[in-house]
């Protein structure tokens, strides 16, 4: 089994208002995600990235085309629950994912739904909380946690179901910088140590920079795709799309316009310093 997720020719239409006007939120999208990959999908609001995310775990079904998760077709209703166990999902609002009154009960929710035996649920809950670094909060009420901590609980709740892949729909949009860092560190750890396939939807480019592959969406289409270096070096195009690039990448772009010879794919401060010193 090669592909964890296969999106083939997916188009998605929905009614945008009472007059029945149809909007194409996704236009003939094709994406393959390999097992263990860390893919980031960026784009501004309205680009279709969230809509795409919800196709992966069958919350939405394509109007045209197919989505396969570990060989299962999302259009097949019999497979829906297996697909959702395979592809877990974390949403944007930290509060609106937590169901129980104490942390460990919430993390147990997923396994309970799967009918996992009681003793094993305990083991999974403990492991999941350890992985996200929240074990000491196991008996606390979720309303006492910060946004970043709540999101980590949400992630724990998903990994307690032992998925092969996690889709995160703008998980850091409502968090402060330290919360964002905690969440992205956790996601990276899951990808590297547990080999969980990750699809992260975001508009923060510092999150995109740490992934294996970046896909840029605009108006329901994929407009750029490649490694972070390949994508972020296209500064002009990204700016036209209304997206951010790392400040040093932007600086390199501006300096090249002035005739200074610098490589296109500088992403970090250290790379920039090195390149500028080599100019001398």
């Amino acid at each position: 089994m090669e592909k964890m997720i296969k999106v083939q020719g997916v188009t998605f239409l929905y009614e945008s208002n009472d007059q029945g006007d149809l909007v194409k939120a996704l236009k003939d999208i094709n994406i393959d995600v390999k097992k263990g990959e860390f893919v980031t999908i960026i784009g501004h609001n309205g680009s279709g990235k969230s809509t795409l995310a919800k196709h992966i775990n069958a919350l939405l079904k394509p109007s045209e085309g197919d989505v396969w998760v570990k060989g299962m077709n999302t259009k097949d209703d019999e497979e829906t629950w297996n697909i959702r166990q395979t592809a877990g999902m974390v949403f944007q609002n930290p509060d609106n994912q937590i169901v129980a009154t104490i942390v460990e009960e919430d993390v147990a929710f997923g396994p309970e739904n799967l009918g996992v035996p009681s003793a094993e649920i305990r083991v999974r809950v403990e492991e999941a909380l350890k992985t996200v670094g929240m074990l000491e909060f196991r008996e606390k009420g979720p309303h006492l946690l910060s946004g970043g901590q709540k999101q980590r609980i949400a992630i724990a709740g998903v990994i307690a179901m032992k998925p092969d892949c996690i889709v995160l729909d703008e998980p850091t949009a409502m968090l402060d910088p330290s919360g964002r860092k905690d969440v992205i560190d956790t996601i990276q750890k899951l990808n590297r140590e547990e080999n969980i396939t990750v699809v992260n939807i975001t508009h923060f480019m510092e999150e995109a920079v740490v992934s294996d592959r970046v896909i840029v969406m605009e108006d329901g289409d994929i407009v750029l795709e490649g490694t972070p270096r390949e994508v972020f070096s296209q500064v002009g195009k990204l700016k036209t799309l209304g997206l951010d690039v790392p400040q040093v990448t932007d600086l390199a772009f501006e300096l090249r316009k002035e005739g200074i010879e610098l490589p296109e794919d500088i992403l970090t401060v250290d790379e920039m310093v090195m390149q500028l010193c080599q100019l001398k």
Partner: protein, 266 residues
């Protein structure tokens, strides 16, 4: 005064009562309430008080805390007392203008008030010694057998859990919205009943709308975690009754039995 409401609060002490099976606790509380309606004489009340005080002692919840919970209800207890004292027919012992106090009235009022006090104390003890989840679980289990006649036991329990989970979150949100509207000059304090009710619109509309949105998002998150109702669901924390629970249950049953006997024979 909001802080003094102890019904619904949880006071963890790790006592034997805290560790009891919630189903048994609910049943015992039920039996206790029944006994409060059965009792009708002084000696009977002594049994009830003994039972209640023993329970409070074992629970390690300070008596002062439980008594504090009676404060908000003083008015109700006072009114009940007054009604009974002045409205009961019988041998008049005191007269003040149009108001008469009878001996029967005095007894009635006293015992009625006592009943209320013990009722509140007893039910408070239930919630003080049982966490909301355990309570919900207990209720779900007790209602389970009634599923055959259409009682949605699991759904009710799920609703209660989610409601309890969101209470602090919604309180926070209410506070935020209130502040935002006050910052725009809204007034939630002055005016008569009608204008104050109207004034609540800028608070209630946003709250409702955000609650609907929450419900929507939460439903999606639950489905994403494979929630599909109560069928074939397991639980991490399974309820187990122990010897101690049955012992307590027998004491509760004994109390009711003794009081029934007491009422009939005395």
């Amino acid at each position: 005064m909001l802080k003094d409401i102890t019904i619904g609060q949880h006071y963890p002490t790790g006592s034997a009562i805290h560790k009891m099976d919630p189903r048994i606790k609910i049943i015992i509380t039920f039996l206790y309430i029944i006994s409060l309606f059965v009792v009708n004489n002084f000696i009977g009340y002594i049994y009830v008080v003994a039972f209640l005080l023993a329970a409070i002692l074992i629970s390690k919840v300070p008596l002062s805390y439980i008594l504090k919970g009676l404060k908000p209800l003083m008015i109700l207890i006072g009114i009940t007392f007054m009604i009974n004292i002045f409205m009961t027919a019988g041998e008049v012992i005191f007269r003040l203008g149009p108001f008469t106090i009878t001996e029967e009235g005095l007894y009635q009022a006293f015992f009625m008030a006592l009943r209320l006090v013990f009722l509140v104390m007893g039910t408070s003890l239930l919630t003080l010694t049982t966490s909301p989840i355990a309570l919900t679980d207990g209720i779900e289990h007790i209602l389970n057998p009634f599923k055959r006649i259409g009682v949605p036991a699991h759904e009710l329990a799920m609703m209660m859990t989610i409601a309890l989970r969101f209470i602090p979150t919604l309180l926070e949100e209410t506070d935020k919205i209130m502040k935002a509207q006050i910052a725009r000059g809204a007034d939630f304090e002055s005016g008569n009943l009608i204008s104050r009710a109207k004034g609540l619109v800028p608070l209630l509309v946003p709250l409702f709308i955000s609650s609907f949105r929450r419900a929507d998002e939460l439903a999606m998150a639950m489905e994403a975690r494979c929630y599909r109702g109560g069928e074939n669901r397991t639980r991490m924390k399974e309820l187990k009754t122990h010897g101690k629970d049955y012992f307590a249950l027998s004491i509760g049953t004994l109390l009711v039995a003794v009081l029934i006997v007491n009422r009939i024979w005395l």
